[in-house]
Amino acid sequence: MRNGFRRSVMDPLAIVVLAAVVVLGLARVGGLSLVGRAQAPVGEAEKAGPVPRTSWDKPDLTGIWTNSHDIPLQRPSKYKDKEFFTDEERQELDKIRGEIVSQDVRRYGRGNAQDVGGAYSTNIFLSHKPTGKRTSLITDPPDGRIPPFTPEATERRETVRNFVLELLQATDTCKEKLVGCAGGKYGPPSPKYHDVPPFYIATGAPGGGLINRSDHPEDRTLGERCMGAILPDFGGATGFYPQFILSKDALSIYYDTGQGQGWQRMIPITDRPHLPGHVRLWWGDSRAKWEGDTLVVDVTNFSPKTDYQGARENLHLVERYTMKDANTIEVVVRIEDPTTWTKPWTVTQELSRQPDKANRHYKEPRCHEGNYGMPALLAGARAEERAHARGKGPHPATLCSAGCGGFAGGFADDGEESNPFNR
């Protein structure tokens, strides 16, 4: 049976509306999604049966999975020495988060770029789940925080940040000293406004580069280019439904993620060595082997175009997939990059089985097919340039289309309406 709401959300027109928000660079994750598709996880409340096994006697990871709770990646400073929230703290966090993201209409000033961020109805287009028990997905180091950056990575991030600020300095984001301009100051359009970025612009995350310019498609984030899906993926407000299918020689994971930016991952279960070092892939090169009932996946050969928390081509993941019961997979990922962090760190996440019959999984990553936002954004920038050249518009560098702040992901950049997970 088709559902009218779902159809309307997947309609290209709906995508245009969403793309308009992405265009303004306020939704940093980029892309499009459906919420309300998630079924209540089968896990938790019900008593789950024993781990199902394949005919060749391995834990059968096959199924549709999701993270049933929101857990901060890094432990919020307020919970410094606590590994777990109390039930009261979880309730309180749910209340605060719920009140912020369920507001339908919010204004961040009037007539400015930041205002448009609040026009995005986050209670329809983003999914926010109840707060989980852990205070951080990071289980090692014990403080639940990403280890310090290496001097090399710090310098890289500062270079990126300085370039971001160059391109932002003539906008009202700097004029009004908003968070987006932190570390920078208001000034005239930079002479470097059209320079080649110092690093490949990847995600909109700090260090990934989110630049206020649309000279080329490559100026925009991977999310806006419909290539936002990266490894590792621990889910987020834009949906996360990996479907696992296991055979003797491979684990297939289809990540229904990033609002229409889903992708197919193939993990060979083999002793074969990794690809030659000069072959670099967006999602790396995966090799799996069984260690008892745990599938251990080694991922290397990442592309310098991808960016995870500041790590690029030297990222090395070791993922461990263990079924705890019929409805739970524990995923432990060791994250390492000696050029980025001073030591490796580890994330632990539980995935809950989604009912298979409902088939709430969609292998239709249509962000690209519906990306009217990208040409509209480029065409808009050209129109601004033409208008300015005719003396009929402001200098394009004074307009803000990325990094301007607002209600990215449903939360304000700072203050009372910011995400309590990040405070």
Binding site: H194, S247, W283, N359, H368, P375, L378
Partner: protein, 326 residues
């Protein structure tokens, strides 16, 4: 068959030659009895079903044009010296590709007379599609390839066979389809890749595919369908490393009768075969958005023998073009 790991391509060629006799038969005579005479050696799962797990690829010209056709100089052509259809020359956008831009001939994969039974008005659309290939073919924009096209594009795909799911992962744009052998609900919307429900009939996996959105083509020749497309696919092992792939195609909006295509799919035998990435969303940005750059990167090509200016007259009614330029 023994294989040298240093010469995987040779090994593939040897296999292809070994199966060649069958291939020819499949293309030239009615391939509705695809089982080899002595019964093929079939790899099986623990529950006795044929095990299709592995990396596969079609080895034919179906991705150019399903129908039987002679070779032609390019996928898009313009009038040559003579005013005849058979004397056309490559058009500017593909000229620089030389002999690599030509379309190889084929005995075709359409059963019967090798022609697709179009309704007269649909045949016109097909012909316009072919003439406007660069603007219209969804493959060029890196859109989801659809079924059956994804099955015979010139990229490998991998089958991961579980008990209740036969999953196919395609290298082209990292897309996939899952064939459900168990009972599941249909998709919430029409789809590019269809909704696939399978069952075993002996050693043949029979798959019913519906819920298409009508935005895909069958090939680069402009053969197309509507959202009423209904496929019945049959995967039958004919060798331990080959499967006969047969599809009955129904679409009353476009065709006067159901028709069938049939071809073998071959296992990739390289010891180190793996599905690579073909993330063409990135590759087509210049094609789709290059004209909207602040400073265009590509507009003129100077070669050893010729200079090509990429200029064109945009057909009327190209709505996106008009919208962007207004």
């Amino acid at each position: 068959m023994s294989m040298s790991s240093k010469k995987p391509l040779v090994a593939t060629a040897v296999l292809a030659a070994a199966i060649g006799a069958f291939t020819v038969q499949a293309c030239t005579s009615p391939p509705s009895q695809p089982a080899a005479p002595q019964g093929p050696v079939v790899t099986r799962t623990a529950d006795g079903k044929p095990d299709f797990s592995g990396i596969w690829q079609a080895l034919n010209e179906a991705h150019w044009d399903l129908e039987a056709h002679a070779a032609r100089p390019a996928i898009v052509t313009q009038e040559g010296v003579y005013p005849y259809e058979y004397t056309r020359v490559p058009a500017a956008p593909v000229l620089a590709l030389g002999a690599a831009g030509g379309v190889p001939g084929s005995v075709g994969v359409v059963e019967g007379d090798g022609k697709i039974p179009y309704k007269p008005e649909a045949l016109k659309v097909k012909q316009e599609n072919g003439a406007n290939w660069i603007d219209r073919d969804p493959e060029l924009k890196c859109y989801l390839p659809g079924i059956p096209r994804a099955m015979y594009m010139p990229y490998p795909f991998q089958i991961v066979q579980s008990t209740n799911k036969v999953h196919m992962a395609f290298e082209f744009t990292s897309t996939a389809r899952t064939i459900h052998l168990d009972e599941v609900e249909g998709p919430p919307d029409f789809t590019y890749m269809g909704h696939s429900v399978g069952k075993w009939e002996g050693d043949t996996l029979v798959v019913d595919v519906t819920e298409f959105n009508g935005k895909n083509w069958f090939d680069r020749a402009g053969n197309y369908h509507s959202e009423a497309l209904h496929l019945t696919e049959r995967f039958t092992p004919i060798h331990k490393d080959a499967v006969q792939y047969e599809v009955t195609i129904e679409d009353p909006n476009v065709f006067t009768a159901p028709w069938k295509i049939s071809m073998p799919l071959y296992r990739r035998l390289e010891k180190n075969a793996q599905l690579m990435e073909y993330r063409c969303i990135e590759f087509v940005e210049e094609f789709m958005y290059g004209g909207l750059r602040r400073q265009p990167l590509v507009k003129r090509w100077e070669g050893e023998n010729m200079i090509v200016e990429i200029t064109r007259k945009v057909p009327e009614g190209e709505k996106l073009y008009e919208w962007y330029r207004r």
